[in-house]
């Protein structure tokens, strides 16, 4: 695709199938403490 470059991303629809293990970090424990932002959390699912 000459005019479109697609970045490699995790397919969210796919992740619905085996997601939700809950092992990832709770957002507020990291640095913000005053706002919610989950997108920068790393996935820690071993069976992904």
């Amino acid at each position: 695709m000459e005019r479109i470059k697609t970045l490699e991303t995790r397919d969210l629809c796919e992740s619905a199938k085996n997601g939700g293990c809950g092992e990832c970090q709770t957002s507020c424990q990291s640095a913000c403490k005053t706002s919610c932002g989950v997108a920068n959390q790393k996935c820690e699912n071993d069976r992904k």
Binding site: R3, C13, G20, E23, T26, Q29, S30, T34, C36, G37
Partner: protein
């Protein structure tokens, strides 16, 4: 739905429900904007006419690009349908009543008297107090008992200033390490400190035991010292900066955040971020102040516009520093598009009031640290667990689709509907929408995604 924007020379198209991100040229950008709801022939004539001066934009080329857009749609990477709205509630229910993270308020007191502190100098509008070892131990037992199959448990030593109760912090970590041997869990500790009491013993302890340390510094000396003062009104910058440098150096420069708060005094907060970088710190976080709108520290509507510009300045400067081989990390720009959170996490949010709770020095449970002191948000205690189950259900119902305004917002899979505490403080309801917060959040995500595009482009 898709979200299109231009930033720093990049045309970016984000597909909300699949999470796909596309970097496109002007022609594709326009075609995508027209694709839904405009007949193909109209798109072709419109593009050929608009780009008449460009020899590369022929009818054939435009049709090829439309074909590419259609292919991406068919692959589920553009205009992907929203299949999550119905699942939002049930996906979050999957975690049951599991608790996996606690914010331990080991000290409701502080050795600084920062004017903007959301915790009212650590007292949370209540009495000064230190958590006893017995209460802390019960909190850890409560966490393990309610953590179900979760292996990674998170405990944040928070306050006030947690180092004012360092002896108990050490006892609790020792207790948890013993408990790890038999319970099959792994504790990850975070210490959030203003730095005043850091010494070699604290440094060795934090670097041995804490997965993460959050160090409070507001940036430039004049900015930091204006609000982060002791009870004699003296600024704390000169006391803490050398201590932070020593801690970070001995830590190998990893697993820490230098975290600042910006207020009406410094909406030009990137100067403070760059000041931290100039001090040699590379893992940085800077947050807008949380306070009542009538507070003199509160950001005004005009400030919000400045802050949005500042986020762009920060992103561009970070890319420059990366090219120059002296990168810095900004917490809100850390996006891992490939290995980031699954849709469950994106729908559910931070887990406040369900997976995550705060514990007061007396052992009371609150949905998170920002609700401590609000009596009606007391959930129970560490001996009897959550007794206000209706409140837990209210928090469980908070997700990316809980608010009408979020249902057609492109950013909902990045913020999960936003911070319940911010919503409560801005609107009186955890199901409200903190609009200024949304604006800043969306700008941050646009900047972070642009940086991913630039890094992919630059290699």
């Amino acid at each position: 739905m898709v979200h299109q924007y231009r930033l720093n020379g990049y045309n970016i198209v984000m597909d909300t429900c699949s999470g796909a991100v596309h970097v496109v040229d002007d022609v594709a950008y326009d075609i995508i904007a027209l694709f839904e709801g405009t007949p193909e022939e109209e798109i072709v004539s419109s593009m050929v006419s608009k780009y008449a001066a460009r020899p590369d934009v022929t009818e054939e080329e435009v049709r090829a690009c439309i074909g590419d857009v259609r292919a991406l749609r068919d692959q589920g990477k553009l205009f992907s349908p929203d299949t999550f709205a119905e699942k939002a509630g049930t996906l979050k229910e999957r975690s049951g009543d599991v608790v996996k993270a606690l914010c331990l308020h080991v000290a409701h007191t502080c050795n600084l008297n920062c004017a903007y502190c959301f915790a009212s100098q650590g007292r949370y509008r209540g009495e000064r107090a230190l958590m006893s070892f017995e209460v802390g131990r019960q909190a850890l037992d409560f966490l393990v008992a309610h953590s179900g199959s979760r292996r990674n448990l998170e405990v944040d030593f928070f306050g006030g200033e947690p180092l004012m109760n360092f002896a108990v912090v050490k006892q609790l970590v020792a207790y948890a390490r013993e408990k790890e041997k038999t319970c099959g869990k792994r504790f990850r500790f975070t210490l959030t400190t203003n730095g005043v009491l850091i010494d070699d013993e604290v440094i060795d302890f934090a670097n041995r035991e804490c997965h993460n340390v959050v160090l409070s510094l507001d940036g430039r000396k004049e900015i930091h010292d204006a609000l982060r003062v002791d009870y004699q009104g003296r600024g704390s910058y000169d006391v803490i900066v050398p201590k932070f440098k020593r801690l970070v150096e001995k830590r190998g420069g990893r697993n820490y955040y230098m975290r600042g708060t910006f207020t009406h005094r410094n909406p030009d907060f990137t100067k403070d971020v760059f000041h931290m970088a100039d001090l040699g710190f590379t893992e940085l976080s800077m947050e807008p102040v949380v306070c009542a709108p009538e507070d003199s520290a509160a950001l005004t509507e005009e400030d919000i516009e400045t802050v949005k510009e500042q986020y762009e300045i920060l992103a561009v400067e970070m890319l420059k520093r990366r090219r120059e081989g002296r990168p810095i990390t900004f917490y809100h720009y850390m996006l891992d598009l490939k290995n980031g959170p699954c849709v469950y996490k994106r729908l559910s949010g931070c887990g406040s009031g369900t997976e995550y709770m705060a514990v007061t020095p007396w052992g009371d449970l609150y949905p998170c640290h920002q609700f401590v002191g609000e009596e009606k948000y007391r959930m129970g205690d560490v001996w009897h667990g959550v007794t206000n189950t209706a409140l837990r259900e209210e928090f469980r119902a908070c997700n990316a689709y809980a608010r009408e305004e979020c249902r057609d917002c492109w950013a909902r899979m990045y913020c999960s509907g936003g911070c319940a505490a911010n919503a409560y403080h801005a609107t009186g309801s955890i199901r409200g929408v903190y609009k200024a917060g949304c604006e800043l959040f969306k700008k941050r995500i646009e900047c972070a995604v642009m940086m991913q595009a630039a890094e992919a482009d630059e290699g």
